[in-house]
Every structure is written in C-alpha cells, then in structure tokens.
C-alpha cells in the first residue's frame, strides 16, 4: 500500500499530460473539419472534438479504454476482433519462446562456465547475435522455416527465443561464477567433483541472478513475439493488430493493442517477481 500512492500520482500525471497532448496534436484536424463545414469552433467545442475524433493523431485515454473494453469484455474470445484472442496468440508464442530461450541460455551458460573453449568462443557470438536488428532477421527466420514446412507458433517462438536467451546467458554466467574463492576452496578440500560443485554450490548460488535475468528475458520475449507477427502477413496476434491498425490509420486500435501488450508484459514480469520473492525467501537469499 505504501507503494501505491507514488504510482497513482505518476499515472494521474501521465493521464493529464496525455489529454493535453491529444488536444495539441488533434487541433489541426479539428480546425480543418470546421473550416470545410464553415463553422467557428469555441474552445470547449475544439477540446471536445480533439478528444473524440475517429482517427486522431493521438487518441485520448477514454477512447483507448472504450476500445479495449469493446474488444475484450464485449467480444466473444473466439472472435477475430477480440483482443483476448489476439493476446493469447501472442502470449503462447511468448511463453514458448521464453521457455526455449531460458533453456538455451542456461545450457550456454553452463557450457561457458565449465568449458574453456566455449568460454573463449561462444560469448562473442552471443553478443554479436544481439547487435543484428531483430527486424532484419525476423522475416528471414519466418521465410526459411516456412520453406522447410514449419509454420504457425514455432517460428514466432524462435524469434522470441532469439531475444530472450541473451539476458539468461549473461546473468547465469555471472551467477554460476558467483561463489567466492573460499566456497570453491572448501569444495576442493572435500575433493568434490565438478558435478557436485555445480549442483550443490554453483546452481543454488546463481538463483538471484537467474530471476533478474528471467524478468528481462520475459520482456524481451514478448517484444520478439510481436515482431515475429509482423512479417506473417498480419493474421493474428497483438503484432498483427498493430500492423493492421497502421495500414488503415486506426490509431485507437494501435494504442489499445499497445496498452494490452504492455499490461501483458507487466503481468508476466510481476509473476516472475513473485516467484523470485518466494524462492529466494525460502533459500534465505532474499535481499
């Protein structure tokens, strides 16, 4: 509850700013319409118009909220116009991509920590992989996989994985190396094998690093899934809604898809945060 007040203050400030920006950005079009109709606009009429245009430059918050309400609560989830349907399409690709990215990231990190050759050779490639713009590589992945007959969920999940494995590798390499000299010496005095040191010391020690990485990976995974939807010909998913909206100048649709995507990401990250709190508390490692 202590945290609620500052959050609400910031939200309120943003909403005020948003309404102001809507007036500012939508005024030219409102004047345009008025001039063609040959009427004079009073200030009140002007403001009212800027907050209720059909295709505004910047839709007002209540317009976006109404659109979200219409496309979630008032639509059946099986409908192609339901945002819940589109969210699920994106979410499934996100979760699969996140899971693949996490597994790949941990596997690479273990390899890097235990194998000197991998340490020297893999990390530069991992970093290079992230310098390639995902927008450039996403269509390639879709096209190549399509050519070998893989369609639907998997190509999007792979793009999602491509973005999400990176923070996991970086975090887990640091985490698996986090035990100090004394702890490693101690294992040595017991003549512990590398596997015993891994399972009993390195892996548990890496948990705080893992969860921090997973939060970043989850946010990256949802971006990957949305980007992956853009070159698929805009069939379904939040990315498809964004693309369709921009084709037809449906700014309200774009903003509502955008907000839902943000809310989805926030929820997923919050869930990881919750698991993190519980696990680290139980392990006596809560900060």
């Amino acid at each position: 509850m202590r945290n609620l007040f500052p959050v609400l203050t910031v939200v309120a400030a943003l909403i005020v700013l948003w309404y102001g920006a809507a007036v500012w950005l939508n005024t030219p079009w409102a004047y345009d319409k008025a001039q063609r109709a040959g009427v004079e606009l009073s200030t009140t009429e002007l403001i009212k118009d800027t907050w209720s245009q059909k295709k505004p430059k910047l839709p007002a918050p209540h317009q976006v909220t109404r659109e979200i309400w219409k496309t979630t609560v008032e639509k059946k989830i099986t409908s192609k116009r339901s945002l819940i349907y589109h969210s699920w399409v994106t979410l499934s690709a996100t979760l699969l991509g996140f899971a693949l990215g996490t597994v790949l990231g941990i596997a690479l990190a273990v390899g890097i920590v235990f194998n000197r050759t991998m340490d020297m050779s893999v990390m530069p490639w991992v970093i290079t992989s992230q310098t390639i713009p995902i927008l450039a590589i996403a269509p390639m992945i879709i096209v190549v996989l399509n050519a070998v007959g893989i369609q639907g969920l998997l190509p999007k999940a792979i793009i999602s994985m491509y973005l999400s494995f990176f923070p996991v590798v970086v975090g887990m390499v640091k985490g698996l190396r986090s035990p100090d000299h004394m702890q490693l010496d101690q294992m040595r005095t017991w003549h512990a094998s590398a596997a015993q040191t891994f399972w009993r010391l390195r892996l548990p020690s890496s948990m705080p690093y893992l969860f921090t990485s997973l939060k970043i990976a989850m946010a990256a995974a949802i971006v990957g899934a949305i980007v992956g939807e853009l070159p698929t010909g805009a069939v379904a998913g939040l990315g498809a809604r964004l693309l369709a909206g921009s084709y037809y100048g449906q700014t309200i649709q774009i903003w509502s898809a955008l907000l839902v995507a943000a809310a989805l990401a926030a929820t997923l990250v919050a869930i990881i945060g919750l698991i993190q709190r519980i696990v680290l508390n139980r392990m006596g490692m809560a900060q």
Binding site: R188, T189, W190, P204, G284, M285
Partner: protein, 260 residues
C-alpha cells in the same frame, strides 16, 4: 622425523609472481607436526602463515621443497580426505539448515543416509549445538555459525584439523568461550590441529607448539614448545608461566620486524 610425524615440511618455498615482481610468501620453511599436536602459527600479515596452511591443504602449490601429510603428498592427502579445513568465515550455505550444511561434505563423500544422520547428531553435540539441526544459518549468532563450521569439518573421519583464523571475526568474549571449547574438543577427539591466528593470548592458550613467523620473506622466526599442562582453565592466562611464554612469542615477533 619420527614415526608420529603427521605433517612434515622440508625447505619449503613458495614464490608468487606478481606485477610488482616476485613475492616470497614462504622461504626455506622446515617444520614437523607430531600426532596429537596443537600447533599455532602466529605472525604479522604477509608472514606466510595462511599460505603455509594452504600448502598443507593442497590449496597452493609450493615452488620448492617438500611437504608430506600423513606420509603422502598434500594432493593425495586431500583426495583421501585426510583433513578438515575451517576457514575465516563460517561459509554456511543460507539455503541449507545447520544439519544440511554439516551433511554437505558427507553427501559429497558418499556416506549413507543413516550414517550421515548419526554423524550430524554427534558433531552437533560436540560443538554444543544440539537442537539447532533444523535452524537456518541466519538464525544463529556469528559464534554459533563458526561452531557449526567446525562441526562440519569434524563430521567426516579426518585426523587433521586445519584452521585459518577461525575466530578472527568474533568478539573477545565469544572468542574466549570458543577457545575453551576447542581445547575440550581437541582433548576428546585426539585430532592434530594446525591453527593460524593473529592473537598472542589465543596462540599461547591453545597450543602445545607455537610457530612464530616473520614476513618478507615468510619464514619461521621461532618455535616454542609450550610447558603449560594439557588441562587449561581460562585463568591459566594469569599464571607466570603463561606470561613467560607470551613474552617469548612477543620477542619472536619483534625480532622478525627488526629489519624494518
């Protein structure tokens, strides 16, 4: 070197190569530790006392000379789990209970479950921590944590205990108490103990043999055989004999510093 020699060092040298040139952590160190001895290593920082202990434990490799532990090389002794090592920090895993922490080396060494439980119970009694098996490290004071770490080093059958300033981070009162307990424990278990410390009273109170070391290069300045009886109440520290030995240790430390 007699039949009872447990640890033997002959002309031991260890030189670290650093960016500022070579550092002679140990130079021509020779020492025999007999079975059942309680040997303290005392000296200022950089005198090589911890390095010496780490060489015995095969945590550092000497650059010259010879060390044997139980008649074999430190590496073989380590692989045979010949010693328990107690570090400066307790180093208990926060995600394991006290019992779980003591069980850790036993799991690694492959003791069976029933044996593990029996040993954990026995060593917890030995360090007077019975009843704390299910507690987590954060629920214990610093002194109790260090006792748990000693219990962990005692849990498997090693006849040698190597202790690197185990009570260095604790306050004087707790330290006195732990010293007393350690002596009782040593008398009961008949272990051979090598103990690194900064404290003159601690070294004199605990040891049968005090090795005074001096730095640059790290070497042995004096070896003092204690004439104190095996039975040592804390009050023995006020006896003339105790003060006499402490004086000799201080002299040895001062002599090592005379070149500065």
């Amino acid at each position: 070197m007699s039949n009872n020699t447990i640890i033997s060092a002959k002309n031991l040298s260890l030189t670290f190569q650093t960016n500022d040139g070579p550092v002679h952590a140990l130079k021509d160190v020779s020492l025999d530790i007999e079975k059942g001895d309680f040997v303290s290593f005392i000296g200022p920082s950089g005198c090589g006392k911890t390095t010496f202990l780490r060489v015995m434990a095969d945590l550092e490799q000497p650059t010259g000379g010879l060390v044997t532990v139980n008649g074999v090389s430190p590496e073989e002794a380590r692989k045979a789990r010949a010693y328990g090592y107690v570090f400066q920090a307790a180093g208990l895993y926060p995600w394991r209970t006290i019992g779980g922490n003591i069980r850790l080396p036993l799991e690694i060494m492959g003791y069976d479950k029933a044996d593990q439980a029996e040993r954990v119970k026995r060593v917890l009694e030995l360090v007077e921590l019975d009843g704390f098996e299910k507690k987590f490290p954060w629920q214990l004071s610093g002194g109790m944590q260090q006792r748990a770490s000693i219990a962990r080093a005692l849990a498997f059958d090693a006849d040698i205990l190597l202790m690197d300033e185990p009570f260095g981070a604790l306050d004087e009162i707790v330290r006195d108490h732990l010293n007393e307990q350690l002596l009782q424990l040593w008398a009961r278990t008949q272990k051979t103990i090598a103990f690194v410390t900064h404290s003159i009273p601690e070294a004199v109170y605990l040891s049968t043999k005090i090795v005074v070391m001096s730095p640059r290069p790290g070497r042995i300045a004096d070896v003092i055989e204690s004439s104190l009886p095996k039975e040592r109440p804390l009050e023995i520290r006020d006896s003339p004999e105790f003060i006499e030995i402490a004086h000799r240790v201080r002299e040895g430390l001062r002599a090592g510093h005379s070149d500065e």
